[in-house]
Structures are given as C-alpha cells and as structure tokens.
Symmetry: C2
Subunit: 130 residues, 2 copies
C-alpha cells in the first residue's frame, strides 16, 4: 500500500491516531498504529491499533465487542498524525473507554482540578467478561 509510505512514522515506527465519532463529532480516544496496524485497519474497515503496553496489534473490540467501524481516514499537514472518523459499535451510546464511558476524555479541568464528568455506561467488569 503506497499510502503507508506517505506517512512519517516516528522513531518507534508509530503514528498517533485520533478516533472521532462520525455521528456526533465527539473525540472518543487516542492511540497509536504501526504500518501493520494501519494496513489491517484499511483492509478490515475497523480500527486496529498497536498496543504499546502489550507490544502487539490490538483489534479494538476483539474482547469487548466494541468494534470501531471506520468511515474516513485523514492525515495532517505534516503527514505524522491520523484522524479517523468511526462508529463505535457494540453499545448504544458507544463505549470507547475501558472504564465503560463513552469517551476516554472524561476528566475535565474545573477550577484547577481534573474532574470526572461522564457517566459509566457499563460496568467494565462485564465489558470484558465474555
């Protein structure tokens, strides 16, 4: 895939990826991809990331069922960041965060304190039990 060669991969061979919900515009999460992850994402039409903590490919939703269907892939002006418009599947409203929340960005700075603002939609223990 020539489009992979256009990306300026970082020293670790990764590119940062922002996942934005297609229907709402909400930014749901941020993760990383290597070449293989992006290749699989494009082929599958579903988000496949590179898990830096686990050191392996991570087909988002493989355990939780919370698959991210990809509508659109965009690249920034420096060719080193990707933006993906997705539909977060498996629950309504979509759950992208491992805490059971809609978005990973649920801590808002309020009077100098990071404050959890979004409700837990599903108990994380039940998300990963299958």
């Amino acid at each position: 895939m020539n489009c992979l060669d256009d990306i300026k991969w970082d020293a670790a061979g990764l590119v940062p990826v922002i996942a934005q919900e297609h229907s709402s515009g909400d930014v749901l999460m941020f993760a990383w991809m290597n070449r293989e992850a992006l290749k699989r994402t494009i082929e599958l039409g579903e988000a496949v990331y590179w898990s830096r903590s686990r050191g392996k490919l991570w087909h988002k939703g493989e355990e939780s069922g919370h698959i991210q269907k990809v509508h659109e892939l965009r690249m920034d002006c420096d060719n080193d960041v990707l933006l993906m418009r997705i539909t977060q599947q498996g629950h309504e409203p979509g759950i992208a965060c491992h805490t059971g929340r809609h978005s990973c960005f649920y801590q808002r700075l309020e009077n100098g304190v990071w404050t959890a603002t979004e409700p837990v939609l599903k108990d994380p223990q039940t998300i990963y039990s299958k």
Copy 2:
C-alpha cells in the same frame, strides 16, 4: 499547579494535545505541550504549545494572529493525552493550519491515495507577513 502533576508526561516531558473547534466539533490540529506550555495555556486561556521542531514555547497565533481561545481542557483515562476545545480566532472560518486551511487534517484517504480536500482560505504567505 497541582493539575500538572496529575499528567503522565512522556520521556521527553511532553503530552500530546488535540485541538477541537468548540462550535463545530472539527478536529483542527494536534501538537505537544510541556509543563510550562500547559501552565501558560491555563493562565492565558489561549493555546501555548511546545514546538518540537523549534525547541521552544509556541504561543499559537503569535505571528499569524490565529490565536486559539481555550474553552475547556480534558484529560484521557490514562492521564497522558489532552483534548482542548477551542475557538480559532483571527479569521472566519477559523484557520488552524499553516497551509491556510481550516484544519490540519485536510488529506483524506480516497481509493488508497491521500487527497487534499479542504480549500486554502488564505494564502500562507500573507498569513505570516505581519
């Protein structure tokens, strides 16, 4: 500021930051902050990044006039990524990209080819001439 201590800064002392337009939900750009940049951002209410290429603080809009007024700061579940809701000032519609476009994410993957999709709103040569 205690809120700075809650962030898991990376090995280079930086945190990735996503800038999202408050009014439209459009993701406009992606950049990095160090402690000082985030401290100034909070104090000013305007985006101050750390420019990795120039190795210095970068008050976005200091040359172009395209200041980013900050409405809200959010942190993700791992405490290592920030999401900022901003108003992109200095032009209508807002210009976040140094190419004179609304968003830095103007290259869309179409049939395997990254294709520029958004119009240039202002000639970059005139943006930085003041």
